[in-house]
Amino acid sequence: MADAAIAAEGLGKRFGPVAALDGVDLELPAGGVLGVLGPNGAGKTTLVRILATLLRPDRGRARVAGFDVARHPAAVRRRIGLSGQYAAVDPFLTGQENLIMIGRLYGLPRRQARRRAAELAGQLELDGAAGRLVRTYSGGMRRRLDVAVGLLAAPPVLFLDEPTTGLDPHGRLALWQVLGELGAHGSSVLLTTQYIEEAERLAGMIVIIDHGTVIATGTPARLRAQAGADRLDLQSPPGHDPRRLAGALSALGTAEPAVDEATGRVVLPVADGPGILPEVAARLAAAGVQVSGLTLRRPTLEEAFLALTGQPASRTRPPRHDASGPAAAPARPAHGTQSAR
């Protein structure tokens, strides 16, 4: 496709015995936002590194902004921006100095680099901190600076590699807001993430990868339908039988409820979203069953994988919250420990 921002065919990359990528095809139309969703170790970072010319694929081809990444890396580099967990900023420079340096290296004249740095610091709400050394920044400020660096040259193609991994919910929301505005402005964005919500919120098209292969592609709505509906997460009070709770509600689910007798936790896939809650309350009252916690949430990445593939995600799974079983079920997916590729 001549006008695709990114077109990759059969990308493969091995590191010793491990196939980090095993034949990945994907396409990002110009102006679109593509979410690459997958657990740690799925191959997301390897994919971004290849598309950003940092790594040569063993096989397959990729064009970014119209240029082949292996044959014309210099042309690609003039047209991309990269924000990610591994492409660093210098902690011993101030935010502003980092931005100006990157601007100069993109070839902006000094005055323009300075103006652009100030502009981006304002847009990403870093103005107050722009004069401070980056080593004093919080995680959220650091990520916003990463994003600003990626945007510096107003690149036609922007890579955002796990932009919110490790941020607290507040920082994540703030960054989503910024990235959402970005999507509305016509640059093509490839975003990798471990968070279903993030992909749904920011991307027009989602590719799910695991073990270096694409296991599903589609619009958020389609994948949402395939990945199963929302989950009703219920907690039985101590001393109560969670099977009674599950029994009272099982007719409302789109599948059998999962019951964890050790922790008293019940997870039920449901179809109608919040509309189902009055019915839940009515049935609980009728059956005389008590609950100590109730959350309606999106499926976690693991649950979506299970629905899409019939198999759990990834070999390097982060510790699951239901193993320790806190009563308040998280409304967000479980955090992974962060590691590249």
Partner: protein, 268 residues
């Protein structure tokens, strides 16, 4: 609102390697004054070298034909201070590799040559400062140039040129070993070995016979000898040419090797 379109970097501009080198030099100079270790290596260590070697060894060592030991000593320890400082260059490039700065630079339209040259240029400015500082401290405790201002300038230039070769060598080492701590050791080891088997502290003639041959061929002896000739007077052209040959030979090997290594370092 985030503006994305508009200020795009000009595709197709010719590689402005000098401007990029200057930008990266500026970054490294800022780090030099902000990272405490680097600042100490640049300011405190050279002063300590002058004072410690002069007062600890100066009383015991008498070099025939030289009135004051510091006149004999200073050229050698300038080379030592520059050699020690250069080991930080290997550490820095290894840190940049592991911290992702090299990935950042490689994702930009910047050549590896500019990234490495910007490192070396910052080192050269640091070395100029170090040499000047050591000469100033040495002068305060008795050091004098005996061969006139032109020779003195030539001596400083030769010391800085030797630093270029050390920097490129350490860049190569840092890119090969990749781990910052190992890079520091790998950089210090040759300096320490070569320094103490050279004429930097004592005349080669005082060494046992088997060591003399090695000490005479040692590049630190050659470079120190040329610096000394330029500082103390006497025939300097021959030693300076020999030192320049050593430096040029080192650069001819390390510069292309380091650039080639950089291209591969992050892509594996």
């Amino acid at each position: 609102m985030i503006t994305v379109a508009g200020t795009a970097a000009r595709p197709g501009r010719p590689a402005p390697i000098l401007a990029d080198t200057a930008t990266i030099t500026g970054r490294n100079l800022r780090r030099l004054v902000r990272v405490p270790t680097l600042l100490v290596l640049t300011t405190v260590q050279p002063v300590l070298f002058v004072l410690l070697f002069t007062y600890a060894f100066g009383g015991a060592i008498h070099v025939p034909g030289v009135a004051r030991y510091i006149d004999y000593l200073l050229p050698g320890i300038i080379v030592l201070a520059i050699g020690f400082g250069s080991s930080q260059t290997g550490v820095a490039i290894a840190e940049d590799l592991s911290a992702g700065m090299i990935d950042r630079f490689r994702s930009l339209p910047v050549t590896g040559t500019a990234v490495l040259a910007g490192r070396v240029a910052a080192d050269a400015l640091r070395n100029l400062f170090v040499a000047g500082l050591m000469i100033a401290v040495g002068a305060a405790i008795g050091f004098r140039f005996h061969a006139g201002p032109a020779a003195a300038l030539a001596a400083v230039a030769l010391a800085v040129a030797a630093g270029l070769a050390f920097s490129w060598l350490n860049l190569l080492l840092g890119l090969v070993v990749r781990d910052p701590e190992s890079a520091g050791l790998a950089g210090l080891f040759p300096v320490v070995i070569l320094f103490f088997t050279s004429s930097a502290l004592v005349p080669v003639a005082t060494m046992p016979g088997w060591l003399q041959a090695f000490a005479r061929a040692n590049p630190i002896t050659v470079i120190t000898g040329a610096l000394r000739a330029l500082c103390l007077g006497g025939p300097a052209t021959g030693p300076a040419a020999e030192a320049a040959t050593w430096i040029a030979a080192l650069l001819a090997i390390t510069v292309p090797a380091a650039i080639a290594r950089y291209r591969h370092a992050a892509s594996t």
